[in-house]
Symmetry: C2
Subunit: 331 residues, 2 copies
């Protein structure tokens, strides 16, 4: 059974891959469920656990434009004001970096992103759909010039044409970003597709020193499997959330990826504590995780918004009606 | 992006793989949660859905020895008496075959398994741990001589030594079984290990015409990913359950595998109906699916019984205490 031995050997090798960096987006992606209305106690508990667990990045939320998103509709982690972040992390004298996501066309980045020397934020993740790339490039330049690490999230890759994706990667190679993520916004990818995309991203960026990352969703119970697949092929930036919390079907569970890596840099026990103390109580107020409607949108390569609306509506378990409705649209 | 095209091509190829056979074990593996006490209405609804969905086999339960397992403690699907099965399926004039699982050392097979011409059962799946193989071989002979298709489930392969496994496969190659399953009883395997085991099983059985199957558990959210992995390498017998129902973390969800295959032989809509009408109401009485304690036993390659007991006990969310307890045992 030599093949099995090879697999084991790869496992051991992974143990010592120093390039692996985990970004926890429990509060950021979880915030998409509750309009970013997490109380300070919850955010602090997550932060403390991530620091103890040795997680590389904690993403606090979005840097949304207050002129577009009214403050009476969203919690503070929609905006990530400096004072709010500092109330949780102080000067953040820890090994865990702080990141914030900035959506193209939804961020007043020139005004709202402070110079790095006035901020405890370490990195901005610029999230962009393919048609917003010109704006994203200006956002990257702005944040980079202000002194931040910049990271690029090209959203919804499962609906991007191959030729456009190749062009986009060539453009990204010229930017100062430290990493480019494969973002499976719709939870539509199978592991083979993730493997091939990872190879494609790595090839496009190999001369630049930039790293490849993976952000997966669990619509088809593949978020963790796809994350491992990308990792094995060479991705080194891994997104995860505690207990898989996140919009719709949720994300790659942090406890699974840390348990898999067996990397001495990471510790699972503080994560289990936070799942017990933070995620379990949240389940009474928020819903996330694999459910049939999310599977259906994932398999159809569609945004989960219809499935989210269905779960919040009057017939949250009428999977047949939901399926029939989408099938009618497809035909 | 040629690799992606290859992946797509494989997907299309899968569409027409006529050797793929799905066995639904909703009632059999789900019965491990409720001591096999399903009402007839539920079993009938599952049967009707599977027939409509074009699923190849429905597994009804176990053929347990009534001298070992008292009938006042278990429901009728622990024993699968002929009359009980016929009350659901009549003469089963459908394309869905009926299978029953028979555990080595827990079945009075000589007496309780009728000759095939007196039974509506099509196949017996003989489940055996490695040390019970001599008994399993006699059970296979008995059921085969009586006229049944026989299928072999070697349990808990993740704790079987490689040399013993190779010997076992050589022995199985000499039996009349139609298929041998890779059974990940503890939900311990990663996809690479499943791939290598599938290759090993196929190689050992390639001259015999026997097929390779996969029965996965979802402790690490990999039941479906591992099932696809085995399928792609060449396994053609796939176990699944509706909505992943099954002991502990549950099984590979039938809706996911049918959605993936896009095989015209299978239909997803009757499965969605049954999930809505059968599985959703059951959730009020039975618990299954991914949870942290099952992840922990899976990663430690242990039987889920401690995790099941923990969930049924007084501290069902104290994941830290559970983890600490198992870590202490390991040290």
């Amino acid at each position: 059974m030599e093949h099995v031995k090879d697999a084991m050997a790869k496992g051991t090798w992974l143990t010592y891959r120093p390039d692996i960096k985990i970004l926890d987006c429990t509060i950021r992606d979880g915030g998409l469920i509750n309009n970013h209305m997490f109380e300070d106690g919850i955010v602090k508990a997550v932060y403390d656990a991530l620091v103890k667990a040795g997680i590389d990045y904690m993403e606090m939320g979005y840097k949304a434009d207050k002129k577009i998103f009214a403050q009476d509709e969203y919690g503070r982690w929609k905006y990530c004001d400096e004072d709010d972040i500092r109330r949780i992390v102080g000067d953040n004298a820890t090994g865990t970096k702080i990141s914030v996501m900035a959506d193209a066309e939804r961020t007043d980045y020139h005004n709202d992103i402070l110079p790095k020397n006035e901020s405890v934020v370490d990195a901005y993740r610029i999230a962009t759909y393919i048609h917003q790339i010109p704006t994203a490039l200006d956002m990257i330049k702005d944040a980079h010039d202000k002194g931040y690490e910049t990271i690029l999230q090209l959203m919804a890759v499962s609906i991007v044409q191959e030729r456009e994706l190749e062009e986009a990667l060539q453009v990204f190679a010229e930017t100062p970003v430290s990493a480019v993520y494969i973002v499976d916004s719709f939870g539509a990818f199978y592991s083979e597709q993730v493997r091939d995309l990872t190879v494609m991203y790595m090839k496009a960026l190999e001369q630049t020193g930039k790293e490849v990352g993976i952000h997966a969703h669990n619509n088809q119970q593949l978020a963790y499997a796809n994350t491992i697949e990308a990792l094995i092929v060479g991705a080194s930036r891994l997104d995860a959330t505690m207990n898989g919390i996140g919009r719709g079907a949720g994300n790659c569970p942090l406890e699974l990826i840390v348990g898999f890596l067996k990397n001495p840099k990471f510790h699972i026990r503080p994560i289990l504590e936070a799942i017990r103390d933070v995620c379990e109580p949240l389940k009474a107020q928020m819903e996330w995780g694999y459910m049939v409607p999310y599977m259906i949108t994932g398999q159809l390569n569609r945004h989960p918004r219809t499935a989210i609306a269905m779960r919040a509506g009057g017939a949250p378990t009428d999977y047949v009606k939901f399926y029939d409705g989408l099938m009618e649209e497809e035909s």
